[in-house]
Symmetry: C2
């Protein structure tokens, strides 16, 4: 049974704080092993990657077969049904349209001193996309990572995906093709992250690495951060549904289960103004769990991490939601816009009962790579900006320097940075002399 | 003597690669010590922070005196000369005006299916600003970190600054006051970072921590990343000046020295189309080094990490600059805009001979917290966006769901995520039945 809380109860604050603070993920400490793997790849390049792939994925590669060939990709893509292809293409089109609106604008202006100021955005030169193998190898994630990079204008996008026992995932390869991925390597784990960050004889290094992965991948991303940019380190998925009584309990149950089925560490929370509705949803979840394919995972997640919270009104719901800072937030209430306006921290908001979270996972348009573990307090979902950087621009005129230079001289002096001040002084002397 | 290279020489590529790959910073490995400090602060809160401050800063505090009082700030600020205050205020006004233009826009639109999509930006609820003590305690850095946070709309901005032997820096406190910092604590090191990230009895936790610091601070920021957001881990400062012969060698020498004087690990590079001009700059640097206050630091930096590179033309200069991806880039050439258009990776560009880099450190307007160690390939200087996050929005109508829902069902099925698909199916069934 999930936790059942009532915001009006005297012990609520303690119980809610415990829910917020609960550690759902117990990551193994693989940092030392990962450090060795990275050092090996840096030292031996391809040879290390090949040896580690043999060891972990039971696949024998050569420098020539590290990369999945165009022929292999075409053959795999041809295996995909027309319906699956059409679904991927619809998703790609909608994701691209959404992300194209995120392209930032350059700026340049002249201020009252005559100085010209501004900034300019440019894409990274090369990005690497990590795609997990096995069960968590999702074609939708390929679209969600690759399309923003290509919209940003990244000229070279290299993907890595492990192929345990040599098995390729046709949908993943087709998604990569649709999204415009330029190179695909059949490697995974910390060795793939190291190869992307430092390069090998066969794989040119990239500047930014994104994409989800297991504990080894996460530890490797942390270690190469600084040498390259990385996206966030994703934790288990979460959903918070705020629902009033005017909803179908079964729909809400399915929305909660759609996160729970990801991972037994996932978390699904319902906040409702009606305790009877909460009970109805609980019953609907139990009923669905009888037949759901992934009922073991979903059931464990719901039992261990799920919660149903009753609140006196939607203001309290918004307040609790902001403390949770959920990755996914569904607002199944009469006026979702009014409630949305009170939400300050959330990765993605799904407004109204016709917007199940799963739409956002695939075809809505917004990115499904979102901040987990309360990090929506300070970070955002993946976007075009993650594949771009801003260069600031400044151009003084002699007159502008005459106006603001003396303040720079003064501050340089106060910080005991003499050459800083002199670089201004020398120019002002020419102007004034 | 700095390295002297000629891009036309046969061994240039090897020498340039060595320059690019040179490791200038030899950070001590303090990670284990930092892990202990963080654990201590998490376990004992104020008591740990007080004990560590006694040990490292030789200052005896109580929970009541951890925070610098309004009276102390006012008294310190009153100590600052009118000229210094005016310079700080001019800098703050210009930095604020520049950063206000960075405020991102929300978006909302309806697409051809009738779905409403968009996003919304919100500030973090609380930010923490680390300010180093001692020699590197710069009032300009307080402005550069605090003003973007306040422009972003961060309601609570807490600053930490160690006060070794109890010495307060009046300019730092005045800068904090001008920038609108809400709380200031006289603590530093890993213990201050831990206190900001996890909170103590006296210090409420924040959501984002920015600001420079020594190896302990950097290691602590890496460790609390995930619990809170952090800015980049800054390395030693760098400047690249691209100059033609029509410049005063002394001005360029001073610009190079203004980075070299920061730190002996700093790096100053001149790229010029004229070898004779390169020699003249070298001579001018040597002459300035005879009298510069920080000649030992600046001289060591220039000798160990400096370089003068001769190139056949400005296209080669741009190409080398993009490989360096400098933190600061000065373009002292006849047509700096034309050259700037060829630059793809740089933290900040200073256009023309009237724009010494030091202007950007203080009063230009753009931020002086910039990506170092070639990270301008994938990251940007500090901005208002670092203190905000984006929530994506999606609202389906029944008709929109009818159009795109089937593709979501299909993809969910292909990923074996049954509940994802069913959450759409249940709604479509209602629409169709």
């Amino acid at each position: 049974m999930p936790v059942t809380l009532n915001a009006a109860a005297p012990d609520f604050e303690t119980a809610f704080a415990a829910l917020l603070g609960a550690k759902r993920e117990d990551s193994p400490d693989v940092d030392a092993a990962v450090a060795d793997i990275i050092a090996d790849v840096r030292a031996r390049g391809d040879a290390a990657v090949i040896a580690l792939t043999k060891k972990f994925d039971r696949v024998t590669l050569t420098p020539e077969t590290l990369r999945i060939s165009a022929a292999e990709i075409a053959a795999a893509a041809a295996d995909v049904s027309a319906e699956d292809r059409a679904a991927l293409e619809l998703a790609a089109t909608r994701i691209r349209a959404y992300h194209e609106r995120q392209l930032p604008e350059d700026a340049e202006w002249t201020d009252d001193t005559g100085a010209t100021l501004g900034w300019r955005w440019t894409p990274v030169s090369a990005a690497g996309l990590y795609v997990p193998g096995g069960l968590a190898s999702y074609p939708s994630s390929v679209l969600m990572n690759a399309i923003p990079a290509k919209v940003a204008g990244v000229p070279r996008l290299a993907m890595v995906v492990p192929t345990p026992d040599g098995v390729l995932n046709p949908l993943v390869l087709l998604a990569a093709q649709i999204a415009g991925v330029d190179e695909i390597y059949r490697i995974g784990g910390a060795q793939a992250v190291a190869a992307l960050a430092y390069g090998t004889q066969t794989i040119a290094p990239v500047d930014k690495i994104t994409g989800p992965g297991n504990a080894f991948v996460a530890a490797a991303k942390r270690r190469v951060f600084g040498k390259v940019g990385i996206d966030m380190i994703a934790g288990p998925s979460e959903i918070l549904v705020i629902a009033d009584r005017d909803n179908d309990p079964d729909w809400i149950a399915l929305d909660l289960l759609s996160q729970a089925e990801h991972d037994q560490s996932a978390q699904s929370i319902l906040i409702t103004t009606d305790p009877a509705f909460g009970k109805a949803v609980s019953a609907a979840v139990d009923k669905r769990l009888e037949t759901l394919e992934r009922r073991e995972i979903a059931g464990a997640s719901w039992r261990d991490n799920g919660a149903i919270i009753t609140v006196p009104d939607l203001d309290v719901a918004a307040e609790l939601s902001n403390r949770i800072a959920p990755e996914h937030l569904e607002l199944c209430v009469a006026d979702p816009d009014a409630l949305s306006a009170k939400i300050t921290h959330a990765g993605a908001i799904f407004l109204g009962q016709w917007t199940p979270e799963a739409i956002g996972d695939y075809v809505g348009g917004p990115n499904h790579v979102l901040p987990t573990a309360r990090s929506a307090r300070f970070s955002s979902g993946l976007s075009v900006l993650d594949f771009m950087k801003r260069t600031t621009l400044a151009r003084m005129t002699p007159d502008a320097l005459r106006q603001i230079g003396p303040a720079a001289e003064r501050l340089a002096q106060s910080e005991s940075l003499e050459a800083h001040g002199l670089s201004v002084t020398a120019r002002l002397r020419k102007l004034n002399g």
